[in-house]
């Protein structure tokens, strides 16, 4: 059975810019499904619709064979939600917050303790501290505990790692993996492309539209054009020169490298022709090599291609 089926969801707010344009996808049970896209792409609207907080203008969402609009009461009992902004009571202590939400779900602290145990252990030293006085990472962990306390079947996480440093982000994703092992379906959104590889499947979303749904590996496999990374000294000067490159390509800085996607059919001769071009323009570079694209490369390539179409 599929955990989530989103069928042609559209949503338009009063300012007439459509937030979601006929979005469809399905999530398998026990999967970590990522919604990857920048802020304002419509991820939060989609989350609100899936979690029964918002009605869609068109289309339907089915969670475990229950319609989110008609059966919202039943749906609410089986989902957990971690919103993008900290939404617990800052003047209540860590333990009080957890107890409160446990009661709201007709559960108790002890009933589902095994599920949250690994996270809760880290929070135990701060049990009596007010939630508002926790550090960002700890707040997030508490919110996760509150979202898991009733042992939901589907867990929704709206940008849990935004603004979090890379190390804590990694830690958070490790936690998600352990949650997945408890047979909980996880739907997570993120603006960080590098996190996409940790999902089983991802949907790339931009301006309210899904531009690709697949497993990260398959998305990478489906990359069109050939990607090269080029090591250069002065990145932004090089980019300026490359605008004049005769070979059909898109290029962008990538860390200390420049990444260039070439669409030329005559692949073998690309490095030679590129070398000639750079020489003509007196640009130094080293280490030009063909690489497998990252999700970020795929996103940029897809976006650029859509723009030109």
């Amino acid at each position: 059975m599929q955990a989530v089926v989103v069928d042609h969801i559209s949503k338009c707010y009063s300012d007439k810019v459509p937030a979601l344009k006929s979005v469809s996808f399905a999530v398998n049970q026990g999967e970590i499904f990522g919604l990857v896209g920048p802020d304002g792409a419509g991820k939060t609207s989609l989350f609100n619709i899936m979690t029964t907080l918002l009605f869609a203008d068109e289309g339907s969402v089915t969670l475990l064979d229950m319609d989110v609009e008609c059966d919202y009461k039943k749906v609410r009992a089986v989902i957990g939600y971690l919103p993008g902004v900290f939404s617990l009571y800052p003047d209540l202590t860590v333990e009080e917050n957890l107890k409160f939400f446990a009661t709201m779900y007709k559960s108790s602290l002890t009933e589902n303790m095994p599920i949250i145990k690994p996270i809760w252990k880290q929070l135990t030293p701060f049990k009596t501290r007010k939630a508002g006085k926790l550090s960002g990472g700890m707040k997030q962990k508490l919110a996760l505990c509150c979202a898991l306390i009733h042992k939901p079947e589907i867990l929704f996480l709206d940008e849990p790692t935004t603004g979090v440093d890379p190390v804590s982000r990694k830690e958070f994703w490790d936690i998600l993996k352990t949650i997945q092992k408890q047979k909980i379906t996880v739907i997570v959104s993120t603006p960080y492309m590098d996190e996409a590889t940790r999902c089983d499947r991802i949907a790339l979303i931009q301006e309210g539209e899904i531009i690709k749904i697949d497993s990260p590996e398959k998305i990478v496999k489906g990359f069109e054009g050939s990607l090269y990374s080029i090591r250069v000294k002065r990145i932004f000067d090089t980019l300026k020169v490359m605008e004049k490159c005769p070979i059909e390509c898109i290029f962008y800085p990538y860390g200390e490298y420049v990444h260039a996607v070439f669409y030329d059919k005559n692949e073998v001769t690309i490095p030679i022709r590129f070398a000639d071009f750079m020489k003509d323009n007196n640009m130094e570079y080293s280490d030009m090599k063909k690489i497998t694209p990252s999700i970020e490369d795929c996103f940029i390539e897809l976006m650029e291609r859509r723009k030109s179409e």
Partner: protein, 234 residues
């Protein structure tokens, strides 16, 4: 001229940090949440008083001449930047005027920077209604209206899509090439590579300063992310 040294003592958030930044340099601040980046930045902007230590910013002493410093710096952050209920032009007029740009010159500069950004069509739109990527570019342009010597950018590209992020860095480079010093914090490790020099902070202390390549070779790893994990590991 542009030497900057700071020492803070007995301050939990920022602990005796010392460094210098040259004019026109792009200087990156890296660290885990709560490492003291924002606190350090706030002190340099004159928003917080250092408990001890000396700092010279744009040739002025941080303790005694913070008023002059404030005129010479621009500040932009992900959280506090523009008023959503004012239009693009109104926001720029407001900040330009606050920083003492003369009305006639301000008009010209607003027009120029909107043209530069390709945002003329948004000029009368409310800031709340324009896409985030544009908003961030606009905030950056606004922080530059009074032609500051130093601009502080606190996580300017958080949540922005990868293309706009690169466009944003393109702007940073352009600005730096006109002699403006750029201070930037980020959680994107690839962006750290775009900085001329980076400073890695942990627990309020400066762990390392240098060019990205230099730091990587010193530690013996091949990515800034690996460097980062090494220092931040608890």
């Amino acid at each position: 001229m542009h030497e900057l040294t700071k020492k803070f003592g007995d301050f939990i958030a920022v602990d005796h940090i010392t460094f210098q930044v040259k004019k026109g340099e792009i200087f990156g601040f890296l660290g885990a949440n709560g490492a003291g980046k924002t606190t350090a930045m706030k002190m340099m902007c004159g928003l917080l008083r250092p408990s001890s230590g000396i700092a010279t910013i744009a040739g002025y002493d941080l303790k005694t001449q913070s008023k002059q410093i404030k005129k010479r710096i621009g500040y932009m952050s992900q959280k506090f930047s523009l008023y959503n209920d004012l239009s693009v032009t109104e926001n720029m007029q407001l900040y330009g005027t606050i920083y003492g740009v003369k009305p006639a010159a301000l008009q010209v500069r607003i027009r120029e920077s909107l043209k530069d950004l390709g945002m003329e069509k948004y000029a009368d739109k409310l800031v709340g209604a324009i896409p985030l990527g544009w908003k961030q570019k606009l905030a950056f342009a606004t922080a530059l209206l009074h032609k500051p010597d130093i601009v502080f950018l606190d996580e300017p590209t958080s949540g922005v899509d990868p293309i706009v992020r690169r466009e944003f860095w393109d702007r940073i480079y352009k600005t730096a090439s006109t002699g403006v010093t750029i201070f930037v914090t980020t959680h994107y490790m690839d962006e750290a590579e775009y900085c001329e020099r980076i400073c890695i902070m942990s627990n309020g202390k400066v762990m390392m300063i240098g060019t990205p390549t230099q730091i990587k070779t010193d530690i013996g790893v091949d990515s800034i992310e690996a460097v980062f994990s090494k220092f931040v590991k608890r």
